[in-house]
Symmetry: C2
DNA sequence: GCTATGTATAACCGTTTGGTTATGCAAATA
DNA sequence: TATTTGCATAACCAAACGGTTATACATAGC
């Protein structure tokens, strides 16, 4: 349970994705989140800490309860990375692929040897 | 380095995201990928194994080289999870939020007590 | 055939992860 | 005031992670 969290790591765990799925539909106090899983309350608290550390969940104290609210705009970091990568990927034939050309040249040399 | 990988876990590691960024632009043999990082060749091989296990990279033997090719359509799993979650999230006010209503009712009772 | 190259694999290691139980504490309730 | 409820936190644990070095091995080049 260390310091700087990032969103990619946060959503790597299936339980945390499920928690986000729940909170996406309605804000809930931690104990009501915990009811939806078989793991212990401290385990849920730990997941929640990770989710809050990277801004995916915001918590507001409500009496003795702590209301958890999803902040899914933080997923934009993921979306934009995927989009950016796919953009490059789709254009990969348009740019000269130096390595492949070099490889092909080598093969041609081999052929004429 | 165990069995069933999933895409979310694969992209959780910054080095693997960087590798995908590289391969998105051009297919490369493993050693040329390794040149772009300070970590050892076995470390790169391990990352590559994880990436291939979840289908994000395909490898084809080319003589003694192994050409790595990005398969970024596998990122659709991520994209669709994000989209699905955000959809629920954006509609969270439209559906009745049972917990919050219950909470509010309780508060009203408290007020009139 | 010998050497160099590209890569996989094994063995190992410290750190992180995801879980547990036990405990403490503040707010709500009786 | 005493008890219950809703959490956080500490201490602990096994397993997974991300890295290392050493080694093996097939292909390429001389």
């Amino acid at each position: 349970m260390k310091a700087r969290r990032d969103v990619f790591q946060a959503i790597a765990d299936p339980t945390r994705r499920a928690i986000l799925g729940l909170l996406a539909q309605q804000s809930l106090p931690i104990n009501m989140v915990a009811e939806n899983f078989q793991i212990s309350q401290p385990a849920i608290s730990k997941h929640m800490r990770i989710l809050t550390e990277c801004g995916l969940v915001a918590i507001t104290q409500k009496g003795r309860e702590r209301l958890c609210e999803a902040q899914l705009n933080q997923l934009n970091e993921v979306t934009s990375w995927v989009e950016q990568s796919k953009k490059l990927w789709n254009h990969r034939f348009e740019k000269l692929d130096n390595y492949l050309i070099e490889l092909q040249t080598k093969n041609q040399n081999d052929g004429t040897k």
